[in-house]
């Protein structure tokens, strides 16, 4: 309870500070740099979520504890949400700064990739009826998807650097300006807190729903099976 209240207040403070306290960064048209207070944490959470989901999946594959799959799924759902948010805020920024919503620059490409991976993940989950198989496959897929990420990090800059004149979108971390830094970090903290809260909630929901299923067996299959 306290956590929720605290989080709400903190988030509100951050939002207000983002617009009133921090100064708009130099070099960006108008007030556009303010969106970075929101966009960057969202993208960060989206990626972090993916990592969490993958690790939870790996744990599931190793130990077959259903709770691990709940974590994996919740992290994937939230990650997807934040990914969509990041894409939208990112393209708003793109529009305001460069005049068009979409440019296929490295960061935009990677966020779309992440979106696609999330989409594929959920498609896979819903296409496999057997719950055990579903969890195993989802786990396998997220590990495979994770393996391709390093390639994108190396590959995408190569191709876009020589193709498109305008690139290296991501402005250097917001400011050496202490006020901006403060608000930014505050926002990061707020978003992380939000994420953690939502994640735990979602895991709890899934666990409760899982309790609904009839419990037949007292003994789980032993490790050797």
């Amino acid at each position: 309870m306290i956590y929720k209240v605290f989080l709400t207040i903190w988030m509100a403070v951050v939002i207000i500070a983002a617009f009133l306290y921090a100064e708009a960064a130099v070099g960006f048209p108008g007030e556009t740099s303010r969106i970075l207070f929101f966009h960057v944490p969202q993208a960060w959470i989206a990626t972090l979520s993916f990592l969490i989901s993958m690790i939870a999946s790996a744990i599931y594959l190793a130990k077959r504890r259903v709770k691990a799959d709940y974590v994996a799924r919740s992290a994937a759902e939230l990650g997807f949400l934040f990914c969509v948010l990041a894409t939208v805020t990112g393209s708003i920024f793109a529009r305001a700064t460069w005049g068009s919503f979409w440019n296929w620059d490295p960061r935009q490409t990677s966020i779309v990739m992440l979106l696609m991976i999330y989409g594929a993940y959920f498609a896979l989950r819903s296409a496999v009826p057997d719950p055990e198989r579903k969890r195993v496959f989802a786990g396998v897929y997220s590990i495979l998807a994770f393996a391709t990420v390093p390639f994108l990090v190396f590959v995408v800059p190569r191709i876009t650097a020589s193709l498109h004149p305008e690139d290296t979108m991501n402005p250097a971390r917001p400011g050496l300006d202490p006020k901006t830094l403060m608000v930014f970090l505050g926002s990061l903290l707020a978003y992380t807190g939000l994420f953690v809260w939502m994640l735990r909630l979602r895991i709890r929901i899934l666990t409760v729903e899982g309790l609904k299923e009839p419990k037949f067996m007292n003994r789980k299959p032993d490790a050797g099976q």
């Binding site: 990739m113 989409g119 198989r133 496959f137 590990i143 495979l144 393996a147 390639f151 994108l152 190396f154």
Partner: protein, 196 residues
């Protein structure tokens, strides 16, 4: 079949004249790899699906080691891809009058890209063999995984066509690295998918 049809459609609509010289190496590379990738996506799941449908999958599970099954299917897919490339690539070059200045790099890129395509998709094929809406699911799942190899192959072929060659052929090396990593991960994960 898909590949040839697409090729003809592309060649017919774009012709050799409508795209400017400067843009050609890149755009043609893109088109080529789109054709190759989507042809792969339409055909590579078949070997697993067939086993599933014919009922032979159980006896295979009972008699062979999972790694052996995976490598066998992989080999089959790679051969299929190889044949596809053998037919499509020369045809493409001919029909589109694709000028390639560094054939060595081009061929290496086509080969390593093809290897990558096969490696990324085989384990996915095993997963979707029993699912609903298999074709669409296979494409949806494979596409994000294939994106890196597609991008790097497009780049590599474009470079080969234009005539710039960086020492050590970085694109080919990345493609091979992709191939190796995908195969390793698939070999490790395949038993989980294969056994129930």
């Amino acid at each position: 079949m898909f590949a040839v049809t697409t090729l003809i459609a592309v060649s017919f609509s774009i012709g050799s004249f409508r795209i400017e010289e400067a843009e050609r190496p890149f755009l043609y590379s893109v088109l080529l790899w789109i054709i190759l990738t989507f042809s792969a996506l339409s055909g590579l799941a078949r070997s697993f699906i067939k086993e599933e449908e014919a009922g032979t999958i159980d006896v295979l599970k009972l008699s062979a080691r999972p790694q052996a099954v995976f490598l066998g299917k992989l080999l089959f897919n790679l051969t299929l891809l190889g044949a596809l490339e053998l037919v499509i690539v020369p045809l493409f070059i001919l029909l589109m009058a694709y000028q390639i200045n560094f054939p060595g790099l081009f061929v290496a890129m086509v080969i390593s890209g093809g290897l990558g395509l096969g490696a990324g998709t085989t384990i996915i094929a095993a997963m979707i063999a029993r699912a609903s809406a298999r074709g669409a699911l296979f494409s949806a799942l494979s596409f994000p995984l294939l994106l890196p190899i597609m991008i790097i192959s497009i780049k590599g072929c474009e470079r080969a066509a234009v005539g710039i060659s960086t020492a050590g052929w970085p694109e080919v090396r990345i493609a091979v690295a992709y191939f190796v990593i995908m195969i390793t991960m698939s070999l490790l994960l395949f038993p989980l998918v294969w056994e129930e």
